[in-house]
């Protein structure tokens, strides 16, 4: 309300605030977010309107002469000439325009891009009936600090007991091979969902029927519902598709219905099968992991539903401390569990989102203040011009409108460029996500700049223009302007004062802090980015191979599960034999993890002295051919051998050079013992109990290298994979020549030839690297642009302020020179003054940096930090001195006679 005239504030300000609060408390959280831009927009527009009302009222009472007309009379508020002048100013001051536009564009691009992505994914308008009343439910394990999705047991209980959430649905994305009558095999991503999912979506089928509760019974005949796109592409729009039988994995499914176009609830799927389970046989904390969703009952708020769920969750925790003791049941927006957004202790993501938005807005504010400083310097040089305009009859309001228009043109160009970059970034990011998700983009995601974000940006553009144009304008058109009219045009001179010195000091200080921080952050990105594989990625291909876990109809599930390890072994044996016979294949290895990646795991060492940050290593479970396939040889000790994977054998491990460098330095690693903690387990073994140590028997070279910082290369542990294959197996192949894609089809054919239900996902390492590189690229680009913007703006700001300050003294220099002062003495006076200002700014900046260093625990001067700080200070000092030298020398060159005459 501070933007409103005092009379307005005093009269209705409290009522406005009170009503806004009431409205915010009545709306659901998501709606508040959508409403905020509209409210802010209205606040801004009405503030301008209220000022206009106030001034009109005053002028009607004849008070104009006392306060001066701040706003122009009606009809003169806007003119295209102002826009034209604004464009002309852009061209006339190219350096300043580029610096300002880059700064604003970067801030807007990063802010709008991030916010649009976040809004689109996590806070969308879910495009189904009453989509805003959909919620997600999950158990949060406070001990593991992670969600627990093996919650079918809880699902059944919640479905029975909860009255505040209806149509409770459990679903899990999975996959099966669609096996044609001709033996063709196609891997299908499909959704296993309880029939209630169709009630939740409230979309009737286009043909046939949807899933029903009866389909969920273990003994029910398997059925399948297909989506419109799948019906068109896979079944050629066959009007008799309902009733057809298709083989999915081990079972034949009868197609019972087709969903209408556009339906891909609950994520992005085109095939739905019932989530089959026997509610009576469920055990707590067991079973497959599932997502759970539902719809808020009519007139029930999310808070009330959360309260009911918490009560049930607390009762479960008390009743079953063994399985549920550490669980907190929680209710959240529908998208949260699917997008893996966590919510502990209230809606923390929402607040994080707001904080992030705040930080991005802050970046824009900082940029705007920097640009405003530039503008201030420019506007100050135009005081002569402004004085002439005033003399010709322009009132203060008219001049401010002109300055605002110029700033608006500048900020609009910056904002448009920023939105363009953001839009490209979103398209780029969306393509990456589309490639990463098996079924494509989630149905609610609408790629592009989101409306609330655009409204927010429009609002910020106006605010930016106000900061950039009007604030310096108000200063420049202040009291001194009339005095200016007494001087000849062009002989503009602003009294040098404490304000100017303060501006220079603040600008230098902020630059000294911002430039090193931005460069250090940018460097950090470059440092990580510089890690590259030592092996030739173009010759490798990796594949995930998994056996169907759903038993054939009528088979005993336990017996079928028990047969899986043996079948995996058989499959690997057959695949290995077939690959060995392939002339293109040079080497092939099977493992439980991809050998060139591997999951990050916690490490324990015998006689452990590791700190928390050092505990993370990549742990890779490989077969005996793994290291050779990656062309790694034993540096010290030996590689893994045949006998090592024997369950009875003495457990061993091979580590890489980075592991030795980090944990042993010059010491001998052979014979030392380590333990990699399995996921989900406690880090510390129970008291007095020793974990199953593995002995280090060999050291191999690093698979990755980083020329900038070897410490970035991750330590790796290679352990022999045991004899148990109940999970998907990874295959990595090195081929002769440069086209591993040639072998991809062969691998699929060989695997499905052995067993048509086997699912295979093949990717070349080059493709994998491109995908991950693209994500890193976006981040690196954002950071790079930010660094560029900060450096550009800081340098331009300092240059503008210093050169203006010295220019103001040019006439004085000329005059002194005319009166006989020596050039050297004059230069020294000017430089001493500049040096004092710069020195003060550097001092304040350094103090701030030291404070940051303390807060960030030595982060500022870490690594290249010291060098960057020194370089930044040197850069700022050079820029400031350059800005001093030019105008000072020009002053010396002024003809003394000329200087005397104008005085």
């Amino acid at each position: 309300m501070v933007a409103y005239p005092r009379a307005f504030r005093e009269e209705v300000g409290q009522a406005v605030v009170c009503d806004v609060r009431r409205r915010a408390s009545e709306l659901p959280t998501l709606r508040v977010l959508a409403w905020l831009p509209a409210l802010l927009w209205s606040l801004l527009l009405n503030a301008i309107g209220a000022w206009a009302d106030a001034l009109r009222g005053r002028s009607a009472r004849g008070a104009t002469s006392i306060v001066g007309p701040l706003l122009p009379p009606r009809g003169q508020t806007f003119s295209w000439l102002d826009v034209k002048l604004g464009l002309r100013m852009l061209v006339k001051h190219p350096v300043m325009s580029v610096a300002s536009v880059v700064g604003i564009a970067v801030a807007v691009a990063i802010g709008a891009g991030f916010m649009s992505f976040a809004v689109g994914y996590v806070y969308p308008d879910i495009p189904i009936h009453e989509g805003d009343r959909l919620v997600g439910l999950e158990n949060w394990d406070v001990e593991r600090n992670n969600e627990e999705r093996r919650s079918l047991y809880d699902f059944v209980l919640w479905r029975e007991e909860m009255t505040t959430v209806l149509d409770l649905t459990a679903f899990r994305p999975s996959g099966r091979n669609l096996i044609g009558e001709d033996g063709s095999v196609e891997a299908l991503p499909l959704m296993e969902m309880t029939a209630s999912g169709f009630d939740l979506a409230r979309v009737p089928p286009m043909m046939g029927r949807r899933l029903t509760a009866a389909d969920e019974a273990p003994a029910a005949p398997p059925v399948l519902v297909v989506g419109y796109d799948a019906w068109q592409s896979r079944f050629a729009g066959d009007p008799d598709v309902v009733g057809r039988d298709v083989r999915l994995g081990n079972r034949s499914h009868s197609i019972v219905g087709v969903m209408p176009p556009g339906f891909s609830f609950p994520i992005s799927h085109q095939y739905w099968i019932p989530l089959v389970f026997d509610p009576g046989a469920l055990k707590r904390g067991e079973g497959p992991w599932v997502f759970i969703s539902g719809r808020l009952a009519p007139a029930v708020s999310q808070k009330e539903a959360h309260a009911e769920l918490s009560v049930i969750g607390a009762r479960m925790a008390a009743e079953y401390p063994d399985t549920h003791g550490t669980f907190r049941a929680q209710l959240m927006p529908f998208t949260y569990p699917i997008m893996d957004v966590n919510q502990q202790g209230g809606d923390s993501f929402f607040w994080e989102f707001l904080v992030m938005s705040g930080i991005f807005s802050l970046l824009l504010w900082v940029v705007c203040v920097n640009v405003a400083v530039l503008m201030y310097a420019r506007t100050a040089t135009r005081r002569g011009e402004l004085a002439v305009r005033t003399a010709l009859g322009a009132n203060r309001g008219r001049i401010l409108v002109q300055l605002f228009s110029e700033a608006f043109v500048l900020s609009s160009v910056g904002v448009l460029v920023g939105l363009g970059i953001a839009s490209l970034g979103i398209r780029f990011g969306t393509n990456i996500v589309r490639g990463e998700l098996p079924g494509g983009l989630p149905f609610w995601f609408d790629p592009g700049l989101q409306l609330p974000v655009l409204l927010g940006v429009a609002f910020l553009t106006l605010v930016a223009a106000a900061i950039i144009g009007v604030i310096p304008g108000i200063h420049a058109t202040g009291r001194g302007l009339h005095a200016e009219m007494g001087r000849s045009a062009g002989a503009s001179r602003t009294p040098m004062g404490a304000t100017w010195t303060a501006l220079i000091v603040v600008q230098v200080a902020v630059s000294v802090v911002a430039v090193p921080l931005a460069i250090t952050a940018g460097w950090e990105e470059v440092r990580w980015e510089a890690t590259s594989p030592v092996f030739d990625v173009d010759r490798y291909l990796t594949a995930w191979i998994s056996l169907e876990t759903e038993p054939p109809l009528g088979a005993d599930p336990a017996e079928y599960a028990a047969s899986l390890p043996g079948r995996y072994e058989g499959l690997i044996r057959d695949l290995r034999a077939a690959l060995d016979a392939e002339p293109l294949v040079e080497a092939a290895t099977f493992g439980l993890d991809q050998i060139s990646a591997g999951p990050r795991r916690t490490l324990l060492m015998e006689r452990d002295t590791l700190g928390a940050p050092d505990r993370v290593v990549r742990a890779v479970r490989v077969d005996t051919r793994g290291l050779e396939t990656m062309s790694l040889s034993a540096n010290t000790g030996r590689l893994l051998e045949m006998g090592d994977s024997d369950p009875e054998a003495h457990p061993v491990a091979v580590v890489n050079r980075a592991f030795v460098d980090r944990y042993f330095g010059q010491g001998d690693p052979l014979g030392r013992r380590l333990h990699v903690v399995a996921p989900g387990r406690r880090v510390a073994p129970p008291d007095g109990e020793e974990p199953p140590w593995s002995e280090i028997v060999g050291v191999v070279d690093n698979m990755y290298a980083n020329p900038l910082d070897p410490y970035v290369v991750e330590p790796r542990v290679y352990v022999p994979m045991g004899g148990h294959f109940a999970a998907p197996v990874n295959l990595t192949v090195r081929v002769a020549g440069k086209d591993p894609g040639l072998i991809a089809g062969r691998i699929r054919a060989i695997a499905t030839g052995v067993d048509p239900t086997v699912r295979v996902g093949v990717e070349t390492l080059a493709e994998q690297r491109r995908a991950s590189g693209a994500v890193v690229g976006i981040v690196a680009l954002s950071v790079g642009l930010t660094v560029l913007a900060v450096v550009l703006l800081s340098s331009a700001g300092i240059y503008a302020l210093m050169s203006f300050a010295v220019t103001q003294r040019r006439r004085e220099i000329g005059l002194r020179s005319a009166l006989g002062a020596r050039g050297v003495t004059l230069l020294r006076t000017v430089f001493l003054r500049s040096l004092r200002q710069i020195g003060l700014g550097l001092g304040v900046g350094l103090l701030l940096l030291l404070a940051f260093n303390v807060v960030s625990d030595g982060g500022v001067f870490e690594g290249i930090g010291t060098v960057v700080v020194v370089a930044s200070i040197a850069l700022m000092a050079v820029v400031a001195l350059m800005a001093t030298v030019g105008p000072a020398l020009k002053g010396l060159r002024i003809d003394p006679a000329e200087a005397l005459r104008t005085e």
Partner: protein, 117 residues
Amino acid sequence: MTVASDHLPLRSVELDILLSVVDRARHGYAILQEAEARNGGRAGFEIPTLYRALRRMRDRALIATADAPGNEAPDERREYWAITGLGREVLEAELRRLDVMLSTGRVRLAARGGSQP
């Protein structure tokens, strides 16, 4: 001295305000809620617009501040607004104007074979 026709046509927010306060005094938020209820859930204006319009209409003597109705607990943060004699005249004039437009529209639509009134 202004006459009712000087104030016509009314902005939609002004019409909504007069319609809300014609039978009894109401505070700002109640006016907003009334307007939402009348317009199918969307008032068509935001809170700042409402308050600016209230002040403007007060200055034009279409409405005036009033005491809280007897059945509502007084709240010092709330300002209640009631219609004035001039406001009532303006509202009647505006409704007559709208009525003429409504009839004209219906007759012309019917003449062109559109929907019947």
